[in-house]
């Protein structure tokens, strides 16, 4: 539920059911428990920067607990679409939307939506690792503290669990009091994932999370995505098509703001239906 407490009290309606539309499942990869339902749904959803329509009437279902990759050339609207899911675009004054974007069947841009609660449920990791200039412990504990957690023992449990989930615990467990900025780029990025996981989100948005990392650190992040798959709904924007094909179950291809094709990843990369998709992924774009 994304509504503010006040709005929730005034609302007499029954709790919204999860969407269970008849949508495809990625065929070859292992099924995940609870997967197959639409966690996020866009319906004729457009995003404007002033007059400019950056994302044009996108309709799509993002499956719960699967990994969805978003690919497309620079300026195609993929990051704009991703950032819209936890309302990061609200910071841009000229940005407005039309159509509907639903998270758990509730309107992300609804009048009573609580953005803070939304961003707790929909975490985000950015292109460049951005740890706070604080200790590793404080970085992870920051979110839970913000949400009112004060019990030190519980905080320690959350920190350990989050760092373990982000596959970085073994590397930092003996230096939790050290400044996070002393970690390598790859470690910092996994720390940022751990920081996002600490507030127990349902969705992870990854905006080119490995573009600033070397191949080894990239591989660790990709392994981590596979580890988290099945527990979280993950969306990743990437320019690296091999990465999209390696880590995702379904792939969305954006071009000039339009969602050209959304298909199971193995279909999109072996036999895309749209010639524009084919030209883009085979490097035939002029």
């Amino acid at each position: 539920m994304l509504m503010t407490a006040e709005a929730r009290e005034s609302s007499q309606s029954a709790p919204a059911k999860k969407a269970t539309r008849d949508i495809y499942l990625p065929p070859a990869r292992k099924e995940v428990a609870g997967g197959g339902t639409a966690h996020i749904s866009a319906k004729e959803f457009s995003i404007y920067y002033g007059e400019f329509e950056a994302v044009k009437k996108v309709s799509a279902d993002i499956l719960s607990k699967y990994v969805t990759a978003i690919i497309g050339p620079s300026g195609c609207g993929k990051s704009t679409f991703l950032r819209a899911i936890n309302r990061m675009n609200d910071l841009i004054p000229s940005c407005h939307t039309t159509g509907a974007l639903l998270f758990d069947s509730e309107d992300v841009y609804g009048k009573f939506t609580d953005e803070v609660l939304l961003r707790k449920k929909v975490g985000m990791v950015f292109q460049k690792p951005n740890p706070f200039p604080k200790s590793i412990f404080d970085n992870i504990a920051y979110g839970p503290r913000l949400h009112g957690m004060t019990d030190k023992k519980k905080l320690m449990e959350i920190v350990e669990r989050s760092l373990r989930k982000a596959a970085i615990w073994d590397e930092v467990c003996d230096r939790l009091d050290k400044n996070a900025l002393g970690l390598s780029g790859g470690q910092q990025q996994r720390l940022c994932v751990a920081r996002t996981l600490a507030v127990e989100p349902e969705v992870l948005l990854l905006d080119e999370p490995t573009s600033a990392l070397d191949p080894k650190a990239t591989a660790k992040i990709e392994d981590l995505i596979q580890e988290l798959r099945g527990s979280y709904t993950i969306m990743i924007v990437t320019h690296n098509m091999q990465q999209a094909s390696r880590v995702s179950d379904s792939t969305m291809f954006f071009y000039e703001g339009v969602l050209v094709e959304h298909a199971p990843t193995e279909h999109l990369f072996t036999n895309p239906k749209d010639p524009i998709t084919e030209d883009y992924i085979t490097g035939r774009f002029s």
Partner: protein
């Protein structure tokens, strides 16, 4: 828009494949002639050419594997490389069939050969290979489907040879070794037509992305024909 080097490379690999198919076909027809005229010198050359075909097949496969590893192709580029690798394998096996035919040379007389329609059958199967390669070059789905349909005609010829051999074997003056050699040659030509049919199916995959290898009544027909 000019082609990128990666796409030029796919074209180059396709050309190498087409050149290999010319060599394989030529060697196959030489083998039928060599058996017909009991030409030992031609037989020796056919074996040498087959060794060259084997080397060319390995070389092309290595180049395709390097392409897959280094270029990581997707979509039609991926299908093109996979198709080249599969056709390459079919061509190498057709090359082996030419050698199998000349292996039967000492066992069969020109008179016995003359009594079977192997030349006609060979030309038919050879045409199928040519057309399947043409379908590959021109990405012509209709032509590829025509090749698949032609396979039945070669199967009919093979069944006729099978019936003839079984009939002759029942006679008192039957030379069983010679008849088995004749049946083997018929079988080799029929296998060549099968490979042409496989190549055509691979071309359909290249064009459509759909694997049609086990679709249709191709195998059912074949099984039924063997039961008859």
């Amino acid at each position: 828009m000019s082609e990128r080097p990666v796409h030029e490379l796919i074209k180059e690999l396709s050309q190498v494949l087409v050149q290999l198919s010319d060599k394989v076909l030529e060697n196959f027809f030489f083998s039928l002639n060599a058996v017909k005229y009991r030409d030992e010198e031609s037989a020796r050359q056919i074996r040498m050419v087959d060794e060259e075909i084997d080397k060319a097949e390995v070389d092309l496969e290595e180049r395709c594997l390097a392409f897959l590893a280094l270029q990581q192709p997707v979509a039609r580029d991926l299908r093109a490389i996979v198709t080249i690798m599969k056709i390459n394998d079919d061509l190498e096996r057709i090359g082996d069939l030419a050698v199998h035919i000349i292996d039967r040379m000492p066992e069969i007389s020109p008179e016995m050969l003359e009594s079977f329609a192997f030349e006609k059958m060979g030309v038919h199967a050879g045409d199928m290979v040519k057309q399947s390669i043409e379908a590959f070059i021109s990405k012509d789905r209709n032509l590829a489907e025509e090749v698949c349909a032609l396979d039945e005609e070669v199967d009919v010829m093979h069944r006729a040879a099978f019936k003839k051999v079984t009939m002759l074997m029942k006679t008192d003056e039957a030379n069983v070794d010679e008849l088995i050699a004749a049946l083997s040659i018929s079988r080799y030509i029929e296998r060549m037509a099968d490979h042409a049919s496989m190549i055509a199916r691979e071309v359909i995959y290249l064009i459509t992305g759909e694997i049609v290898r086990h679709k249709g009544d191709f195998y059912e027909n074949l099984l039924e024909s063997l039961d008859e």
